[in-house]
Symmetry: C2
Subunit: 376 residues, 2 copies
């Protein structure tokens, strides 16, 4: 069977034709080094600055607050280290259900800077922190604090309420860092209104290219660059800029903004259809918050059975691309740290299906029929 049904849009997305065209044009025509002061250099520089403007407008940030990086992982790393080394942050509060680029980096910071207090708040059974716990934590001492949370949980789909949490941070004088890898370009984000100090995102979750990401850094927080060298990105990130990647990111963002309403509506419809159809399978449950959930992620928990142990394997054979909620390491599967955080029954098997406005009901039908006949 050669048919492939891609239901893993939260892992990465196919690039839009317009994005590919834009990138290929830059690859062909605009090869200049943006640091060169001649014709070709200036042209590349202009592409970067126009791209920055697109991103800044979306976030309602100023242009000088947006910096391009190689991806959200680099952005997170840069911000965490700078907060400690440049801004005197003495405490970082995050959650147990964050992406590994946060949890693992915080683990390392704990070793490298033992004087820094690092707290990972537990989550409720939906993957959200309890706001009162955050308030209590912030009130427990007067250390200069950074709160770091993801906007939308990549495994569960659950969304944090940035407005409330941003206000809590503001009231307590804490900086607020938001991992928007899953939500950038999918939801309106006004960094000022939400009191966001730092934001990270990657282009490849938004029908843009891999290898390009960004960090928003609020003007009030002057941090030093991670990489030193040619002083690119207004001296915030040395290294010759990935011009075609940046142009592709901006194009993907531009289209995402224009289509936001339509994509939201269409994808949500597909997700609801998928939920409805998946419920035909006996004893299926959905993880994550039903009320505050990204429209493209559906974490689906299947009952234990002989077949469900091999569900990912069998889905792959059936041509269906989805993602296990578990990290697979040397053949032994464990529940992920996120599923553990929400108290997921380890005997059950969770698969994350993630959708796009391109996903059709027919693809969902194909999935459900494959699940029924081979997988569960």
């Amino acid at each position: 069977m050669d048919r492939k049904v891609y239901l893993d849009y939260a892992a990465t997305t196919p690039l839009l034709p317009e994005v590919i065209n834009q990138m290929c044009e830059v690859l062909k025509e605009d090869f200049g080094n943006p640091s060169s002061i001649h014709h070709y250099g200036r042209k590349s520089k202009m592409i970067i600055e126009q791209s920055r403007k697109v991103i800044a407008n979306y976030l309602q940030a100023s242009i000088g607050e947006v910096f391009f990086t190689s991806g959200a992982t680099e952005s997170c790393h840069t911000i965490f280290y700078s907060c400690i080394q440049d801004l005197g942050i003495q405490r970082i509060i995050s959650s147990v259900a964050e992406h590994h680029c946060v949890t693992h980096t915080l683990g390392e910071l704990k070793n490298k800077f033992p004087e820094i207090e690092i707290t990972l708040l537990p989550t409720d059974s939906y993957g959200r922190i309890e706001n009162q716990r955050l308030i209590d934590q912030l009130n427990s001492n007067s250390k200069k604090s950074l709160v770091c949370l993801m906007h939308g949980n990549n495994e569960l789909g659950t969304m944090h309420d940035l407005e409330t949490i941003g206000a809590i941070c503001k009231n307590h004088g804490a900086l607020f860092m938001v991992d928007c890898a899953q939500t950038f370009g999918k939801y309106p984000i006004n960094v000022n209104q939400l009191n966001i100090s730092f934001l990270t995102a990657s282009a490849h979750k938004l029908y843009g290219p891999k290898g390009t990401g960004l960090m928003y850094i609020n003007n009030d927080n002057i941090i030093k660059p991670l990489f030193l060298g040619g002083s690119q990105e207004r001296n915030m990130r040395s290294g010759t800029e990935n011009v075609h990647g940046i142009a592709g990111f901006a194009k993907a963002t531009e289209i995402a903004i224009n289509e936001m309403e339509l994509r939201t509506k269409t994808t949500l419809k597909i997700k609801n259809y998928a939920k409805e159809r998946l419920l035909e399978i006996s004893n299926v449950l959905f993880n994550g918050c039903p009320d505050h959930s990204m429209y493209h992620v559906l974490s689906t928990s299947f009952p234990a059975s002989e077949k469900s142990d091999l569900i990912m394997f069998n889905l792959d054979i059936a041509g269906i691309c989805a993602s296990s909620g578990s990290a697979c390491s040397s053949g032994v599967e464990h529940d992920s740290h996120v599923l553990k955080a929400i108290g997921h029954d380890p005997k059950r098997k969770t698969i994350r299906f993630s959708f796009s406005h391109f996903t059709t009901t027919e693809e969902i039908d194909f999935l459900v029929s494959a699940l029924k006949s081979n997988c569960v």
Copy 2:
């Protein structure tokens, strides 16, 4: 005048059509996240591993010693910090004429790790360190040392003798890190024969894409990743891989290996022709070592005159893209740290012309005639 003559190939290079095609194909067809275990993920993973093989073969390294990054600047940063934090390096010996991503990073390391001895050796008037000084320095104490030098100097073209320096490092038990940004794919490099412990390079100097680089890390030196997260690149560099960039880098390397002899011959011929023609201008001198010089870089020193003050400006107006040997900051031009290192007369004006096998004698004629009529 609309004609453009690009003589700045050491700053960056136009991408080869084959590289663009390869990248556009990956952008279109192979969007999977290499960490996904399904069909699309496996295909992307395969592209990365095949690319790694191309690079490893060129360097005569093993596949497990090559890691892709966002560029040489990231690679340098990663290696320096890891050498101190993971390998217990107590002394770093480099030169005053290295790229800023080395000199600035070493400056920062000096502040962050005051216990680390950092020595920047002076260079001779060609930009080469004197080997005896390196030996003396290594003999001066028994601290565990890293020697970091560039293979070919980006501003001068001067090349270090890696074989001799590699042997010195080996004899003194020092690790050897080589910045090959300007030479990767242009010269044969056998990391084992040259006793290289670490090597850094970028794709965009070799008719490949911006935003992709690499580090070679000899198997004997187990270092920790800079970025933590998804454990990509065999757990040496987290962050979703820039698959199309990596594929483009490998394609550019593949072609460079095949054409190495021809490119060397053709470009050297052009450089010699340029030298000959530039000498028609009164009192022109060339910086850098005449005997050990990269075939694509010609650092040209013009006598002081009213016109030569504006030489870069006038070349740009004439449609000629070259690079100043000077760093221009807020309108005030100073000699670069490299020109200072070789004792360049600050009253003279240095322009770096850098060539390609695509450069024609006719372009050189155009340059010389523009220089004669407007610039000097």
